[in-house]
């Protein structure tokens, strides 16, 4: 029944492509736009009769057109407003993006080796990095869904990070995406491209922050990440959209042999958050560790959809996600692991633990293993529960009241995921945030 308005919405998006400025867009980028458009034309907006979206109802987003911003209007963001939304606290190289567009004047490079590029994608398409961008952009993204197609159709800007061969970047790179009131009722098509060449190493913080505006907006994000042989990337994603902000993201990671990818995904604020994380272990000896923590409450929806493909032998994957579920929130966790026929000696395990703080919160947590190789080690486990009364009584017998006990237990529950992330600039503010959120309010 809902197809009719949704296809209208899709047509409205297609009509808007006419407004896309093509002034100095290279021809090959225009070709990508056309690809995105034709894919969008063929793809329904996600609905709950699609297998992958069965538990994830985003009708509230589908029922309206969030017109993609096509240029960076006068945004009024200055150093003070960046500081107010920064959250991350420590020495980092920082690039700031306002409503999806890079604002060079607001960033700063810190201890970055000269040949490392951290810039806007739009700028990179034209300059010295054009060849690298051309070699990777849209090459890693599969046909994921209508919103990733929309992202490609409106692809303009986002972050571009390139770390050359055997280059080690010690200082974290902080990519800060701000949503301002100018984004209300609109969407930002944010396209990030991260390329680590052979033997390169970096830590990148992808941080999304929005002002708590009254109107809805959409951050429509696609990240493409390529890790060369023996490269190592630690990626920390922080989602703190405005209260009415929606965040639909697809992160696509391609790992060459012996590369290491450690992701830490923290879903904190936003009306709807969907983090689709697709990792292709495409070279022998590659390893990935995907950790996540979602803090859900109110009437919000948070979906973490992991899709891991073991393509070749001897790769390992570790998935550990935790959810803290309050109010009438809805959470979805899917750990889909595909072990292809050639991927012998695969070592994969996943665990998802959920702490219920209310009876009215809902969670659908499931592993989904598809194994076509025979000599593999794959394990999974999922738990959903609340703190047992015997534990609460133990606290009380030590003088600690129930509300404080529950706060401490919640903080401790989150700690396991937080403590695995060794980025100091995020660890302290994140711990403090979680502590404040779950401490009893007096």
């Amino acid at each position: 029944m809902s197809e009719i308005p949704q296809s209208k919405v899709r047509d409205a998006y297609l009509a808007l492509t006419a407004a896309r400025p093509n002034g100095n867009t290279p021809a090959w980028v225009q070709a990508l736009h056309a690809e995105g458009e034709s894919l969008l034309r063929e793809t329904e907006l996600p609905h709950t009769r699609m297998e992958e979206w069965r538990q994830t109802n985003i009708n509230a987003i589908n029922e309206r057109t969030f017109a993609p911003l096509t240029d960076a209007p006068d945004h009024g963001v200055d150093a003070d407003s960046v500081a107010a939304l920064r959250f991350v606290n420590g020495v980092c190289s920082e690039s700031v993006f306002v409503n999806g567009f890079h604002v060079p004047g607001l960033g700063s490079r810190k201890d970055l080796p000269a040949k490392v590029a951290v810039t806007g994608l739009c700028n990179a398409q034209l300059g010295d990095h054009a060849e690298t961008v051309k070699a990777h952009l849209n090459h890693h993204l599969g046909a994921r869904n209508a919103y990733t197609a929309l992202n490609t159709a409106f692809l303009q800007d986002g972050a571009f990070v390139h770390v050359p061969r055997n280059t080690v970047v010690e200082t974290p790179i902080h990519l800060l995406f701000l949503a301002t009131p100018a984004l209300e009722d609109c969407s930002a098509a944010i396209r990030n491209l991260i390329v680590l060449e052979e033997g390169a190493q970096a830590t990148i913080i992808l941080s999304f922050a929005g002002n708590a505006g009254a109107a809805a907006y959409l951050s429509n994000v696609v990240d493409e990440i390529s890790l060369g042989a023996n490269a190592s990337l630690t990626l920390c994603k922080l989602v703190r959209e405005g209260a009415q902000g929606n965040h639909l993201a697809t992160t696509e990671v391609h790992q060459h042999r012996d590369s290491r990818f450690h992701a830490h995904t923290f879903s904190m604020e936003g009306a709807v958050i969907r983090n689709q994380l697709c990792v292709n272990l495409a070279g022998e000896g590659a390893e990935c560790k995907l950790n996540g923590l979602y803090l859900n409450d109110g009437n919000r929806l948070i979906d973490n959809a992991l899709q891991l493909t073991h393509t070749v032998p001897r790769c390992s994957s570790r998935i550990a996600y935790k959810g803290i579920l309050d109010g009438k929130s809805k959470s979805v966790f899917t750990g889909k692991v595909n072990v292809l026929r050639d991927a012998q000696k695969t070592d994969s395990n996943q665990i998802s633990n959920n702490l219920m703080l209310s009876d009215t919160a809902a969670i659908d947590a499931k592993p989904q293993l598809e194994i076509y190789a025979d000599d593999v080690k794959c394990t999974h486990g999922a738990t959903v529960g609340s703190s047992p009364p015997e534990i609460i009584f133990y606290f009380r017998s030590r003088g600690i009241d129930e509300a404080t006990a529950r706060g401490m237990l919640t903080y401790g529950f989150a700690g396991e995921i937080v403590d695995e992330m060794n980025i100091d600039a995020v660890h302290a503010p994140l711990s403090a945030y979680i502590y404040d959120k779950y401490s009893p309010k007096i």
Binding site: S397, R398, I400, M408, Y411, G412
Partner: protein, 253 residues
């Protein structure tokens, strides 16, 4: 300091405690012995304020002059009551030091004292760990998580030492310990004995009382104290066994 009068408690309508009277004065050590299922843990848990037990209206318990039965568990602890659990729970994610600091500060605040900061608390914790001879690494381990049986019991005594209660109830802290662990735990308790602190030692085995010498021994059977005496009562019980109780007591019914 503790006066228990006609304490009756039940679970789901099944009576477990059938009228207990007990008076404990400052500095005294009372042992409560009895066979399995006689209600020893129930007695300890009811005193600590466990909500699973329905206590009869006619029962009364006063502690330091206050009516204990109407008081939430956390307030009993803040007033100075401590229970070392027979089966301490495991709390993954929360370190001993974080847990104990929270506990100590709750107690301090309730008494109008200033909270200890991290440094002062760490000093205090270190001192107590030395006093009762526990591994300093206990501080940063999660509460009882992955602890052996003996470590859990020792951790209860560490908590006792840090919280400095007026009345400590030890529920079978000696059970399941080998002789070395028993010695460590008993030495800890003996160091914590003082003129204004009382102990109730709940135990199944007379052996504990070789290490911690009680002033009084009570025998609990089917929810009642059926014998009270000095430390020689424990020896008599040891000699004759709990079967002797069953024969003599059940004959009376």
């Amino acid at each position: 300091m503790l006066e228990v009068r006609n304490l009756k408690a039940s679970v789901d309508g099944n009576p477990i405690l059938r009228g207990i009277d007990l008076t404990v004065k400052e500095g005294e050590v009372h042992a409560i012995m009895g066979p399995n299922g006689s209600g020893k843990s129930t007695f300890a848990q009811v005193l600590a304020g466990h909500a699973a037990y329905e206590v009869e209206e006619s029962s009364s318990v006063t502690f330091l002059g206050e009516d204990l039965l109407d008081m939430p568990a956390e307030e009993r602890a803040r007033l100075g009551l401590f229970l070392a659990f027979q089966y301490p729970v495991e709390i993954p994610g929360i370190t001993n030091s974080y847990f104990l600091k929270a506990a100590v500060n709750e107690i301090r605040v309730s008494r109008g004292l200033e909270e200890l900061d991290a440094m002062d608390f760490a000093d205090q914790l270190k001192e107590k760990m030395e006093l009762i001879n526990v591994d300093p690494r206990f501080a940063e381990r999660f509460v009882n998580h992955g602890f052996s049986g003996g470590e859990k019991k020792r951790n209860e005594i560490l908590q006792l030492a840090v919280m400095e209660p007026r009345l400590a109830i030890l529920d079978e802290t000696d059970s399941g310990l080998d002789i070395d662990a028993l010695r460590v735990v008993s030495e800890g308790v003996n160091k914590l004995r003082s003129e204004n602190r009382a102990f109730i030692l709940v135990t199944h085995y007379q052996r504990l009382l070789d290490y911690i010498v009680p002033d009084f021994v009570h025998v609990l059977y089917k929810g009642r104290i059926v014998r009270s005496g000095g430390k020689e009562l424990a020896l008599e019980l040891e000699e004759k066994g709990y079967d002797w109780l069953r024969e003599t007591e059940d004959a009376l019914v």
